[in-house]
Assembly symmetry: C3
Homo-oligomer: 137 residues x 3
């Protein structure tokens, strides 16, 4: 059994932004030498998410509009009594989820034709970390 762990740091220019991760994940897999296993891709923050969907700009606009409708930025979250103003980012993170597992088969990310992995930043403009951990053989 083999284990391989890497950490990435993102510092997005905008507060809310999507980062396409798939090419970097393929490089991590190559470095690991693992051919069969599971790759965990997990945000290490509670105001960010990781998800699998299509790399299509129109859809990404739809996703942002949808998220803002369901978990909107508002002034009056109770969480803001701590001095924060990112209550919406916590709820968006719960909705999108902070992690995915990507199957590794025959040395490749075993994704469907249109599946791509994204990091969703909901409260950026500062350093945020992501863990990529592969367990397998």
């Amino acid at each position: 059994m083999k284990s391989h762990t890497e950490y990435f740091t993102f510092h997005t220019k905008k507060r809310r932004e999507l980062v396409h991760l798939t090419p970097q994940l393929e490089e991590v897999l190559d470095r690991s030498g693992i051919v069969e296993g599971f790759m965990l891709v997990s945000a290490m923050h509670i105001t960010a998410g990781v998800f699998v969907n299509d790399n299509e700009s129109g859809l990404h606009e739809d996703i942002w509009k949808w998220l803002e409708g369901i978990a909107p930025f508002r002034e009056d979250y109770k969480h803001h009594r701590t001095g924060e103003d990112n209550g919406d980012a916590h709820l968006k993170s719960m909705l999108v989820h902070h992690e995915v597992i990507v199957p590794i088969t025959k040395g490749r990310l075993d994704l469907g034709t249109w599946q791509r992995v994204f990091y969703a930043e909901f409260d950026g403009q500062r350093d945020k970390r992501l863990i990529v951990k592969i367990m397998g053989m």
Copy 2:
């Protein structure tokens, strides 16, 4: 350490449909010979989901009504500029998620009494693939 991977193809009659997977997953587990591990059940498409809940028809009606309320079919998604009309299916997939991990203990799916695994098709009537991958011993 052992690895076992199978792919399933679904071609639902209706555009939106639930498929109960648990019996098939038990068969995959039997074929794997794995007794302790994790089973990943993951849609290979971005317009489908996999989830764990109750196999009760009334609840399934509630789930569909609820999903349609939160991520409704609409004409005016930006994604439709590509010629697609399935923007809602992408959002439903994000909400439900495309994968679950089922624990394997003593050669059995280690699910609670009422837990069942479902494939949720949001844009069917065509071939769609699912991966089942077990890592364990």
Copy 3:
């Protein structure tokens, strides 16, 4: 390769309640002796969830209000034809999800600074089970 499995039972005083799990999960990890791997934390019921977020009471108030807005308690769920009155708990479970994977690195839960793991009870006041399963080395 090593495997370690434990089960917890919760019996919350209130019908809807959050239980902070991180300290117990650290103890499970210590007992396992596993230093590199994945820990699955999964509710064994379809009316409960497991998620990672901040241990901050104001945010928890926001989460409950938000969940009640998106997946509200209602009398008229079809699921209630079975005699149940917990349709909302099933939908809340779908939204929050019933499981997370926590990475284990160098013998520690490899969580970010503010990440904590919670059990979310949506239909308590009775015994409910949770499985914690670690696969690794």
